[in-house]
Amino acid sequence: MSEQAAAAEHADSHGDHGHGDHHGPDFYYKTYAVLLVLLVVSVLGPEVGEATGIQAITLITAFGIAVVKAGLVIRNFMHLHVEKRFVHYFLITSLAFMFLFFFAVAPDVMNHEGTRWVNEAAIAEIERAEAEHAAGGGHHGEHGGDHGGDHGGDHGEGGGHH
């Protein structure tokens, strides 16, 4: 295939949109610079949050900025905004199933007791780990303890609910 034919073929492959006409290397370098600044903020922000005891700073700088960074990559590097609308639809569908999974399962996993059930294994594991941490226990203690605790916790999802 000749060079001109290859270029023409590639140009055709972008016929459904035309981001190549709008974005040059300068645009990508600027996006990259913003991403690096956001990376620095996402690392330093939680340090400030911990020092001041304001948890909102940690949440916003760690996870809020992660969402902004992801948005920049999706829009400016993946050019999703110029793709056909149905591409958006099936990506959103995947995200919707992910959130459905999360909200359907989260109440049982994030809580350890509810109406007529208690996850005793999970509660015991939290108490054991916190006590070990308070006693200044090293990580080596986690092996034996967690093997028992985690296995109990896992089985507890079924057997531990009373």
């Binding site: 295939m1 000749s2 060079e3 290859a6 270029a7 023409a8 073929e9 590639h10 140009a11 492959s13 972008h14 459904d16 190549g20 040059g24 290397p25 990508y28 990259y32 690096l36 990376l39 996402s42 690392v43 939680p46 911990e50 940690t58 760690a62 996870f63 992660a66 992801a70 990559v73 590097f77 993946m78 056909k84 149905f86 591409v87 099936f90 990506l91 995947s94 995200l95 199933f97 992910m98 959130f99 999974f101 999360f102 399962v105 989260a106 996993v109 994030m110 809580n111 350890h112 999970a122 594991e125 939290i126 780990a129 916190e130 941490h133 990580h139 986690e142 092996h143 967690d146 985690d150």
Partner: protein, 191 residues
């Protein structure tokens, strides 16, 4: 006479079939990684003791790897731009740089894991470390697959052949970067 696969030439939807396949692949990856991260988040919220385990992850190395992946995303999109200009050899050079980023990421990761395993933080240490190695391990496998695919695409792009593949492999690579953007605060920042 050369044979061209239908995926490279047919477009029933307005999106080239090969690129459409990549978007479908990424949609399935959203469910794979999304499910894994959602499971991690709900366990993390339900188990406050995990905050103590998370203090042992190396934020400095996590930051370095984030920097490497962001840089490799830049070179991937520059490769795409070069391909759009019909400059296959330049696109191939940017793809080789991206592969260099993948290798750098894996080197940092292997150093990090060696150190953690040496200190007893193995995949069987507790559920936190199990999630840590599973999530980062599956992500690392995607980095390896992406690097292999980019080498293959670069080998044809440098001959100015099949330049549309540069964008397709770039989309996959940006997704690998996206996953890390969320793994980084979850595993390294939120202590």
């Amino acid at each position: 006479m050369s044979f061209k696969p239908i995926a490279n030439t047919r477009s029933a939807t307005g999106v080239m079939t090969a690129k459409l396949a990549i978007w479908w692949l990424l949609a399935s990856e959203i469910v794979i990684f999304g499910g894994l991260l959602a499971a991690y988040i709900m366990h993390r919220i339900g188990h406050p003791e995990w905050a103590n385990y998370a203090t042992h992850t190396n934020t400095m190395l996590g930051t370095l790897n984030t920097f490497i992946l962001l840089t490799s995303s830049l070179t991937a999109v520059l490769a795409h731009h070069a391909a759009e200009q019909g400059d296959g050899p330049k696109a191939a050079r940017f793809l080789y740089m991206t592969v260099g980023g993948a290798v750098g990421f894996l080197m940092v990761k292997s150093f990090e894991w060696s150190n953690e395993i040496a200190h007893g933080y193995t995949i069987t240490a507790n559920t936190f470390w199990s999630f840590y190695y599973t999530a980062a391990g599956i992500h690392g496998a995607h980095v390896i697959v992406g690097a292999i695919c980019m080498l293959w695409v670069a080998s044809t792009a440098r001959k100015n052949e099949e330049l549309h593949r540069v964008e397709n492999v770039g989309l996959y690579w940006h997704f690998v970067d996206l996953v890390w953007i969320f793994l980084f605060p979850l595993l390294y920042i939120a202590k």
